[in-house]
Symmetry: C2
Subunit: 307 residues, 2 copies
């Protein structure tokens, strides 16, 4: 191309995606509409995960992107990831309050000062809304749950793979430490194989969550030391800094304790999950196979049943 | 059943849905997880709409549940429906600010006072995020867009059909007044026939939106007088007050003006849409055909390709 390209590889790929109508800009960094071909890839990847991956007897639950604020308060997200949160505020005033808010709005003031916290927060991770529904005592077999939801992370970015709102598909295991770890280990292998079968160069790496501030450094180190989190990474805009398209997390008995999910012996249940970042997987596929679905390799098209 | 039933027909149906694992309570009124059978019905209804309904050359766009706050400010939602809004707030402070917020959190104070408005609002209607992307001059044929998104309306309720967050599937037409009205009229007929083909007793009625306060009375009356809104209603929990499961809206040139969507002659484009309330349609189907998918009439199962 003759025109001057943006030097930034993130902006350059974003430009290509927008030109191809795969992503539709909203004017907010990291918030996009998805075009028909993009959505088709997401849907067909999900069908592949269901077809080949759904563990026997997994319960299907689909949560909307809102989390009970009282449940949010129990999981230390406000301590660990305050900068990523989304709180939902709303207006509950009377007509006089409304007139005052409109006056502030019309004079360019911060009209949101008239709002109050609603009963909900935006969901930070697909499994969070599920745990509070599992309070009680598990059977010997534990439980396996199949989840998908839109999750919110406030980190405005020009990297098309770092969206503020995106979908996670997850398989979560609740049970003993062994049951949780078996799930984690099996899915780390299975997830890697699944992504490789789609022509993506995947690596599994030990990882940590972006705990906030200086106080978060210890949490990051501990998480890595205990190898609680693995990411499956694929180069999208950068080969030096490949992008996590999937991750496994072993939560120890953190959620069992927080929401009184108990093993038959009365001790708190352990949990582990694998999450697929659906938008990132679609982006990786478009990066590696091209922006035009018709030109993708036949074996990839067939595997995803794109036709 | 021998146990005492809730007298309220809404709570009674909600209880049945929860017992059947079709809806999963979150502890917040009007916010539920969806069970596997519920989600299957939603997905298969969407496929039916796509198969039989998608207008030729409709562009597919799928927006996440967030709307650019600057676009929100242009559509008078804050004037007309302030009580339904969802504003997204987030934390952008430093570590000292964080410690202060945590102190407030731990002492039970309103820690959300430490937050600031994010760049987004929750989406109030599926077509709102699309209009700002259509700025410019349309061709003679106008445009038809196929949308689906989660939308938010803060109206906590025990009526399972009045959710705070639910999905709308929409076909929107942008063009001349005639093009918009033709779309509206055709889809009012087609939508009614589609729902009737699923065994639902549907009626089309003139309707209005719930404009806020005393000032909203005139807007309601005008909307009805100009027959801008029709609803397709079906009895779910009440025969006297049937539930709107779908609606058509003719917006005149409201969005054309707000977002500079122009006709070839330079005048603002008109628009109209049909929206299907996916959760309400699923609830109507469960109400009319029973809570167990296996026992639904064979013709309905076949029509929705449930097997």
């Amino acid at each position: 191309m003759c025109e001057s390209l943006p030097a930034d590889p993130y902006l350059a790929f974003l430009d290509e995606l927008v030109t191809a109508r795969l992503l539709i800009p909203s004017g907010v960094r990291g918030v996009y509409g998805r075009g028909g071909d993009f959505e088709h890839v997401v849907e067909q990847f999900e069908r592949l995960v269901t077809r080949e991956g759904r563990p026997e007897k997994a319960e299907v639950m689909r949560f909307p992107p809102l989390l009970n604020r009282a449940h949010y308060a129990k999981i230390n997200h406000i301590h660990n990831f305050p900068d990523l949160m989304g709180s939902v505020d709303t207006f509950t005033g009377n007509e006089a309050d409304h007139r005052a808010m409109i006056d502030t709005f019309q004079t360019g003031g911060d009209w949101t000062r008239s709002l109050v916290p609603a009963e909900t927060m935006l969901v930070p991770a697909a499994c969070y809304p599920m745990f509070p529904t599992a309070t009680g005592t598990l059977g010997e077999a534990g439980r396996t749950v199949d989840l998908r939801t839109f999750v919110f992370r406030h980190e405005p970015s020009d990297d098309p793979a770092r969206m503020q709102i995106f979908r996670q598909r997850e398989y979560v295991r609740l049970g003993t430490a062994d049951q949780a770890l078996d799930h984690r280990d099996a899915w780390l292998r299975r997830g890697k194989a699944l992504l490789e079968s789609l022509g993506l160069p995947v690596e599994a790496v030990v990882a940590n969550d972006p705990f906030f501030g200086r106080g978060g450094r210890l949490a990051k180190a501990t998480q890595r030391e205990q190898t609680l989190k693995y990411e499956l990474v694929v180069p999208i805009c950068s080969t030096e800094k490949p992008t996590a398209v999937s991750s496994t997390n072993y939560h120890l008995d953190y959620f069992g304790k927080a929401f009184d999910i108990l093993l038959p012996d009365g001790s708190p249940a352990h949990s582990a999950c694998i999450g697929f970042g659906l938008e990132r997987i679609a982006l990786a596929l478009f990066k590696h196979h091209g922006l035009s679905l018709e030109r993708w390799p036949r074996e990839i098209r067939e595997r995803l049943e794109l036709d």
